[in-house]
Symmetry: D2
Subunit: 351 residues, 4 copies
């Protein structure tokens, strides 16, 4: 059995990790770390786990935890892991970090967008960006995995094949993203109150959202050059789910014609046909967040618009699963040589 | 492997059966029966099942289905199964009926509340009411299981121990029930439109709802006499979940004092301590539908009100799981000697 | 013009008062009092009021406010007004209190349920309970009006005629109430977060909710004797609206027969036919909160259940209008001799 | 008094017209036309109007209606008005059409996007596109007003000043729009069921939505040339509200620099400072649909993104008010010389 510890087990992503690991045949949770609920019964914090989890919350001492488990998940605020990570910890346990601390290779970019100092840039070079479908082999051998952001996972996987194959001009890429409210976390803040979110939709963090440089870095690798994208997140009155709608100009063929839908489909298929967790939808079908709820799937669709010469790419995932805890488990499976689907073979729940 | 067929696979309860059976190690679905979608790909009707279910919908021919499977689930309108059931069918396959056709022993009561003629009353005596926690042993040997209604399961389990032990006066029992909208089915009807349900709550079927006689019959068995209850369902703007709030006068002790909370707790514990799917909550904790979503749990809480001499009992379940498909799988497990929890060991999803 | 001041203008009820007074021809708001937002632009706190309200928030100094306005609305936490009210204030301005401080005549009952000391019980005798349909004449001459609670208004008006006319036995009265989330206020508390409330329903404050003694006192006046009721509130995933479902045993006629629906209807009509804001629905129609949203209406329906000998009474209102700010404006209209409907002639908004 | 008739009074937009006209001092409704509910009491179809509207629904005979009223509102399916409109009707009554029949000047464009034949193209030249803020003077003298679409109103007003002043390149304009569900109407269709919409978001009509040519035509007038835009609507789980997020490349100054936020703000102010119903929000404030709910406001915000050289423009309105019935009343006010705000001076309702 893989012994797992969770720091930040009482956030929404932490609770989702617990849910998924409960159904994982080769892992068991040894440490429910929390800052706010130390010594409280975990099931009193999340009553869905009543009679499922009997443990009491422990603190967030990563160093101590490292000597008791094989893998540590950190679902913690930005800066936490960078502030405590040591060579000794990495020598004892694998670390899968759900925060942004080790996602961005360029420390100055991180510090500019997150406005905090990075306390352990020495681990950045070895950290592997844990987007499984893209970096699978690198992940297997890693000690430190930077689990991608929720918006980022959806945004990248939706555009990746077309960027990589040069079918779209990445400088024209515009990502309009919509997220359920669990992405905002369980903190008691006025903007997240029921009456403020319900019957409402708004954009936020326009031109400044922190997932932007992460998307740009990863899609830049695919493009083979630095790129700049427009990324606008929106808050939607639902618990779970991210939908991205991405616009980009198609690169015309030498004869001036546009690549057709069949050509784009063939590219998507070549990248994702073997991927269990990426479903390229049939022609004319638009993804819906409800169809992936509770599962680790990303659903992708696209429409070629001959009038404008653009393609509209759409992707949907559950922000707490493939956008956080599910991908973290997928990374754990890769790290420990388990079946990549173990603990993740859940059909989406509808309605 | 248990070969299963579903008639009514394209309703919400049918789809939930598919979701649960996909995770069941000893069962496989051989027939996705539907009236409206024959010959269409199941995953085109429920896109959550894209790349999960490859089958095409078949018709609702129960007789033919019986010769191909070990168990038939009927998630069909009232009257359908009673209209087609035969001895031959029951000789070939077990039948678990999610409709009301075989729940009520007295055919005249059925016909009065449902306003349809019962076409095969000859099977009523052998039908077993599939409330697993109450009728476990009878279910094991049955050919025909009448899977309880969603409101009914919640209403009965919440009050059963106190009625059975004579701690409350069943003639004072008032059940105020609240349900999510999936209980109304997937039919395209104006009252079920998003804009009619959202930001709204209403009672319906006041004093006439069809689950009333089912509750009265089963709690009457517990009381040892016929009882009459007030049952009022309400439609709540959420997808899943039933909450019942039940009021009854406590039976005073010979010395005129009221039984205390400890006494009631002891009774609840004695009935449910060994039951995996019934969770008696801690003192002062009220059940919430969100804590059981996606799972087969029923959560039960209660408060003794010394001022009024009443107890307020509360129960919560997911109407599509323990209130329909989950209980049906639990019944299948009993019928075929599987572990009762097989396919149902899902932690509730939150949020 | 009536000059009005609001203490607690930045709560949800306060904002609703602002909305309604903006449409009132004979009133103008002179003071937007707030504890948390002093010196901030009101429209920055409630952006719906951008370019509608230009004022800046002021503090909650009631004494100073009293010399500047004709009427003071206090939409403040329990205990606030009782802590600051003086004879001098009441000599200068009328006070309409949306808190519970002056609703309950018996100070020991108040202190027991609210668990705070009452700082100015000397004003209790003169305070008028501002349920307009019941106490209209007394309100006209008052200096201090105790605006009823949201649950209370709905609970009382729904049962009042039948209690007053002795058609039901008030000792059997059970009130199962459901409320939208705005009733919980705008405080940033975890249980009110979107993800905690959405897709969820729960009871709370079972047997201990503070509106209970208020209901008992007022319906006790109607019954002509002290009564005790069961009252259970529930939190529903919607912004606005309260629905009450009330159960009581009908008092049989001398010949043992039950009073009929016609008899009950005649009683309701005799009390409410002339009341603009109480709508007694047609036979068989159940009230829905959506039908009164944004308006000052209370919709009432009922069903006689011959099987159980009970009547099920149902009432619906908008908790922020008739349950708070709308009734406060109605009280103001009575205090100042305006048309009782002024500022309140808004048709409900659907959907 | 202006005598008004409504054809399609039993749709959501029709009901909103009724709500608004109930509060209009100079208009009264003489005809509640309906196809499905002829001879039924209007208040039985929309119970919010119980005791507010006593009338019975009539049919959709526009010719007969024309001789009884001063203005006809048609909130009808595409093609209906074009199929029945005559010179005689227009000679008797003003017509404000909430359908698309007379919005698009080029009949071939209409027929291509709507896939129906236009039955009375002879009236297209005189029809005035009823976007009040743009065409105010033309509207005053019109007989036939084509009330703009909901998405269209929001999309155009949000971008209009920047297009008109040449600050953005209209060929780069991408409109990502999000709508509440009332925009889909009250038809009983499966995709509009509560359980299909709730907890879900999706794009639809990608590259084919019928509001596209309407936006292109009107913004083309502003640009002074034909333009092509990307327009993608999304369905959001809420009753009311449209939010548009629009992306366009800023036109660089001769010196290669980008125009600044101040410059854009000055342009917006010059167009909308005197407009009651358009609110240009403060710097850094993003519009939210909840802040305009129930009102005739359009809220507009924008962010200059120096990194990408684009501006992100955002607009929000209530699709049933400024996006349909409110704008129709505004048009009526212009046609009949009333105060343009009459019946529309409603502060938004929050929450």
């Amino acid at each position: 059995m893989i012994r797992a510890g969770i720091i930040g087990a009482t956030g929404y992503a932490g609770n989702e990790l617990v849910r998924l690991l409960m159904g994982h045949k080769e892992a068991e949770i040894k440490w429910y770390g929390s800052r706010s609920y130390v010594d409280q019964r975990y099931a009193d914090v999340y009553r869905n786990m009543f009679q499922v989890v009997e443990d009491v919350c422990r603190d967030d001492n990563v160093a101590e935890l490292a000597s008791q488990v094989d893998v540590i998940f950190t679902a913690t605020p930005q800066g936490f892991l960078a502030g405590v990570l040591t060579e000794e910890i990495l020598g004892k346990a694998k670390v899968i970090d759900l925060s942004a601390d080790f996602r961005i290779k360029d420390v100055s970019v991180y510090e500019k967008w997150y406005r905090i100092e990075h306390k352990s840039p020495q681990f950045l070079p070895e950290a592997v960006y844990g987007l499984c479908e893209v970096n699978r082999e690198k992940i297997r051998g890693a000690r430190l995995v930077a689990n991608p952001g929720c918006y980022t996972t959806c945004s990248i996987l939706t555009a990746y094949p077309l960027v990589k194959e040069g079918l779209i001009d990445p400088s024209t890429l515009i990502i309009d993203a919509k997220s359920g409210t669990s992405g905002a976390g369980r903190g008691a803040k006025l903007p997240n109150l029921y009456c403020e979110v319900n019957e409402n939709i708004k954009a936020y963090g326009v031109a400044t959202h922190r997932h932007t440089p992460e998307i740009e870095e990863q899609l830049g690798y695919a493009a083979g050059r630095e790129i700049t994208v427009s990324f606008t997140p929106h808050l939607v009155p639902m618990n779970r789910g991210i939908l991205v709608t991405e616009y980009a100009s198609l690169v015309r063929r030498p004869d001036g014609s546009l690549p057709g839908a069949d050509e784009l489909r063939a590219v998507y298929e070549s990248y994702y046909k073997e991927e269990t967790f990426v479903r390229v939808l049939d022609d004319g079908v638009c993804p819906e967040t409800k169809w992936v709820e509770g599962s680790n799937y990303v659903d992708i669709g696209f429409t070629v618009d001959g009038r404008t010469g653009r393609v509209v790419m759409m992707g949907a995932l559950d922000n707490l699963v493939k956008g956080a805890a599910g991908q973290a488990v997928q990374n754990m499976n890769l790290l420990f040589g388990c079946d990549e689907k173990e603990g993740l073979a859940l059909a989406p729940m509808f309605p």
